[in-house]
Symmetry: C2
Subunit: 227 residues, 2 copies
């Protein structure tokens, strides 16, 4: 299964917030064996949200959208999803009932708070107010990290694939000096290898077979200067 993650928010594009929601979602999806093919941040604009979501729906198995839910003028994500799917927004009775159970009265609730694209399944916000939505292959979650995380756990079973196992070997050699062994490990073992230079070089070894990863990592550890 492969998915795209779309994070909505002018604040992300202005560099005022680091996109830790994307990291968190990618890590959870990866653990579940799901491949994330794109992470894209778009502005708080209906047309941009709709375009990107539709492009990714056409290409991947599912799209997870976070951010831009709520009552204020810059919360336009649901409108973008409605536009993408060609469905009007309408008040979702179940979502409204949840909000009432959480202590909000109908009259007090801001117009639009419980509006979701027609036909969407409402996702309860256990940690906040604004409901999320699931509709066809699109999942819409809030942008506040605790709310997003709690809501994702409720939809997590929809995301599954072949788990990938991973081990890291940290080498205290220049990346260019490691090339012979990086080549050899890929010849010897059925693994994919990533090489991430920094202070040292982190070499990530991955495979869907746990024993192969362990064997390849052990082989490499004996052959590089480890930190």
């Amino acid at each position: 299964m492969n998915v795209a993650v779309v994070t909505v928010g002018d604040e992300l594009l202005a560099g005022q917030t680091t996109n830790t929601n994307a990291t968190w979602l990618c890590e959870r999806l990866n653990e579940r064996g799901v491949t994330v093919e794109r992470v894209t941040t778009v502005p708080d604009r209906v047309a941009d949200i709709a375009r990107v979501v539709n492009e990714y729906r056409a290409e991947y198995d599912a799209v997870i959208v976070t951010g831009g839910l709520g009552p204020t003028h810059d919360d336009v994500t649901m409108e973008g999803i409605a536009a993408a799917l060609g469905r009007p927004l309408e008040t979702h009775e179940e979502a409204l009932t949840w909000l009432e159970e959480d202590g909000y009265s109908r009259s007090e609730l801001t117009e639009g708070t419980a509006e979701l694209p027609t036909g969407a399944r409402a996702l309860h916000n256990e940690a906040g107010v604004a409901p999320g939505a699931a509709l066809e292959d699109v999942y819409v979650l809030p942008g506040v990290p605790t709310e997003m995380q709690t809501m994702f756990e409720a939809i997590a079973p929809a995301f599954s694939g072949t788990p990938t196992y991973r081990e890291e070997v940290v080498a205290d050699e220049p990346e260019s000096a490691l090339l012979d062994r990086l080549e050899e490990i890929q010849d010897r073992f059925d693994v994919s290898v990533g090489s991430y230079p920094g202070e040292s070089v982190r070499i990530a070894i991955e495979s869907t077979d746990e024993a192969t990863v362990a064997e390849a990592a052990a082989w490499l550890r004996e052959r590089v200067d480890t930190v």
Copy 2:
């Protein structure tokens, strides 16, 4: 001026690294008055890099690409850029000379280390080895943060626009309770207003006129429960 930022790396998509390069670049660009319209993370795959870079070149004034430079098999960004621009890779003599000056001998250098798309201007990597490239409206920077940051400073003058001023007011009220004042501030002042709920609600007030921002922020501070 508007730009897109493309960050390349399977590791980002697996949630093993938080995309702080994107945050840093967005912040620098924003300070220079440049609008970032998209931040997209793509896998270490030539075709994906080429597609996304070409889509964004068609739409925005410039594209900044980071990550995937270097000598290993998973460093395919230059190949992706070459494919996007329809130019072959070739050894860049100036880049090779820099590397020699940095103490690498030609024979010792891994094949490809100084290969850039034909016609590219090489960008010296003051903090590392792999050179970057500037070609038409595409700027290619390394993924190691210190290297990326140092190289960006060298190309920063290419990015300019109308600076936006910003002030934040942190309100200790529910976001839904603030709606009347969020509406009124936008009626009274020529500012754009973003509202970011969390523990409290951060209200960001922005305009290209510094005095207007200060005036609007002062007006709002008197009218919300501040933290």
